[in-house]
């Protein structure tokens, strides 16, 4: 059985083929935003519409199969940026109709979790999914990924990237801000926004940017900002671990590439006698493989969507999706 997956929720258009043998191809093209600005949804959508067909062809070629041999096409319908989502969805609908292949809807956030579970062989983890658009602490309970803690405003990756762009570091901002932070010595006090199980980063971001404006040493501001951001997240994760008693901690999403956070979460896991795993770098950021793999699981369990109903859902929450392919 072969499933083609298409991802286009934000800056990446990706395509991948998954079969019983695993991920047999994974091709991605990333829209790189101009220095100093974030993702422009329209510009990213134009990039996707130009790159999409090439990416899909290459994924099929790398997998060594003909499009007629596919059993289904999985498409990431949300959450994400509307214009970007529509490009991938249009491609998927077209292929589905033209080649008479069933269409399988995939939630992008669920896919980040599934690919990490698969790559790290985790059986029942507490998942920390952090990226430019999401900050979610979740675990599977009664057939859905339930949210234990999440951001009340902007995502952790968004906060760090935005901060990086304002202070003028190059892409990838996360890594470059962290590198500056490693050279910092002084810690300034900033708000520490742990709200129950939830976190919030907009106030912390504003406070850190205020320090930049005041002309404080950049390395020190980076250190203070990064330490506060991660302390907040770690505290939330710790509460979730204590509450759920899970013995596996799994980190996934684009921000999982962080150099500093891994070490910190490792300590958190240790203190609660939990194992700790991080999604491999190739599956950390958005990619086609996670959609194809999740689509494969869903398709096997009978999940389908009619083309007429396959609307994109920019605000599709992770806990609205029934997870019927795991037994626990």
């Amino acid at each position: 059985m072969h499933v083609l997956g298409i991802e286009s929720t934000a800056h990446t258009i990706g395509a991948s083929v998954v079969s019983e043998k695993g991920i047999i191809s994974n091709v991605n093209s990333v829209y790189i935003h101009p220095k100093g600005s974030g993702i422009h949804p329209r510009e990213a959508a134009i990039h996707h519409s130009e790159e999409g067909p090439k990416v899909i062809k290459e994924a099929l070629r790398n997998a060594g199969i003909d499009i007629n041999d596919l059993d289904a096409i999985a498409i990431s319908l949300g959450p994400g940026l509307g214009p970007c989502l529509r490009v991938g969805a249009t491609l998927a609908r077209y292929l589905s109709l033209k080649f008479s292949k069933p269409l399988v809807p995939v939630n992008h956030a669920v896919a980040h979790i599934e690919i990490a579970r698969f790559a790290c062989k985790a059986s029942d983890p507490l998942v920390v999914y952090i990226a430019g658009g999401n900050t979610i602490i979740s675990t599977l309970v009664d057939g859905r990924y339930r949210i234990f803690g999440e951001t009340q405003d902007i995502a952790i990756g968004n906060a760090i990237d935005y901060f990086g762009r304002v202070i003028g570091v190059d892409y990838p901002e996360l890594i470059n801000v962290e590198k500056l932070a490693m050279e910092g010595k002084e810690i300034y006090e900033l708000p520490l926004p742990v709200k129950g199980q939830d976190v919030s980063y907009s106030g912390l971001l504003t406070a850190a940017l205020k320090l930049v404006k005041e002309g404080k040493k950049l390395e020190d501001v980076c250190l203070s900002f990064i330490e506060h951001v991660y302390a907040t997240l770690c505290e939330s994760v710790e509460r979730a671990l204590a509450y759920t008693g899970k013995k596996e901690l799994l980190l996934t999403g684009g921000t999982a590439r962080s150099l500093i956070l891994k070490e910190k979460l490792k300590y958190v896991a240790q203190e609660h006698d939990a194992s700790f795993a991080v999604v491999p770098a190739e599956y950390a950021g958005d990619n086609g493989a996670m959609i194809a793999y999740t689509g494969f699981l869903a398709f096997k369990s009978g999940v389908r969507i009619n083309v007429e109903e396959s609307y994109v859902k920019p605000m599709w929450r992770i806990d609205e999706v029934d997870i019927i392919w795991h037994t626990n």
Binding site: V141, D142, R146, I147, E150, I187, E189, L192, G196, L223, S224, E227, H228, Y230, A231, C234, E238, R239, A242, Y243, T244, G245, E263, K264, L265, Y267, V268, E271, D319
Partner: protein
């Protein structure tokens, strides 16, 4: 210093609670723990701020006429609050036995919550395990680790919601009657109805529906 930790009573994510001796008095020591994942300077800042804040809120609650453990000492070198050891049983234990007096106790707790809220203090973890019934029958409120100064209806609502949820998850059969008694006591506060409305709204939010299910499952 006459300072002796004898028995570990409980270990939370944030702090350890020890029973011990302070001077010659029986005392409870709440010791906040360093976290290896925090930058040492940030760690120190957080531990100091939270220790001072908790003590300050307890003192304010005491001034508002609420029975809380008497604070003996605050040791900022060891991030420790030394307080009175309160003898008695928790409300949770009494609820477990389903004695008739539970409704009176819940009404009394409602009054205490109202007094706190009128002083712009929210407890943050208002569960039956955090209420001790002293040997003289008076209710003593403990664990202000998550408490805050706030006059937002939302935060007050969360206090009530947490109490209700704790009742429902562990004492489902008497939960409704207990909460009704609680509300009868809570009604001494002007504007208590707005808080009750908020509780309904909070309960409708998905994430809390989830949390209730989890409590039932764990």
């Amino acid at each position: 210093m006459a300072y002796e930790l004898i028995e570990l009573l409980s270990k939370g994510a944030e702090a350890e609670i020890w029973k011990g001796k302070w001077l010659d008095l029986e005392a409870v020591f709440k010791v906040r723990k360093s976290k290896p994942w925090r930058h040492p300077r940030l760690d120190k800042m957080i531990l100091e701020t939270r220790t001072v804040k908790e003590a300050k809120i307890m003192y304010d609650a005491f001034n508002a006429g609420i029975d809380v453990p008497y604070i003996f000492d605050i040791d900022l070198q060891r991030y420790t609050i030394v307080m009175e050891y309160v003898r008695g049983v928790t409300l949770k234990n009494v609820l477990n036995k389903k004695e008739d007096k539970v409704y009176e106790l819940c009404e009394e707790l409602g009054k205490i919550a109202a007094k706190l809220h009128m002083r712009s203090i929210v407890h943050g973890d208002l569960t039956p395990a955090n209420v001790i019934i002293r040997e003289n029958g008076k209710l003593c409120l403990i664990d202000f680790g998550l408490a805050n100064f706030s006059n937002r209806i939302e935060d007050m609502g969360v206090d009530l919601h947490l109490f209700l949820r704790a009742l429902e998850s562990s004492f489902a059969l008497i939960a409704e009657k207990c909460f009704d008694s609680f509300v009868r006591g809570y009604a001494i506060m002007d504007g208590y109805k707005a808080v009750l409305e908020k509780v309904k709204e909070i309960r409708r939010r998905g994430r809390y529906v989830l949390e209730r299910r989890l409590v039932a499952k764990l």
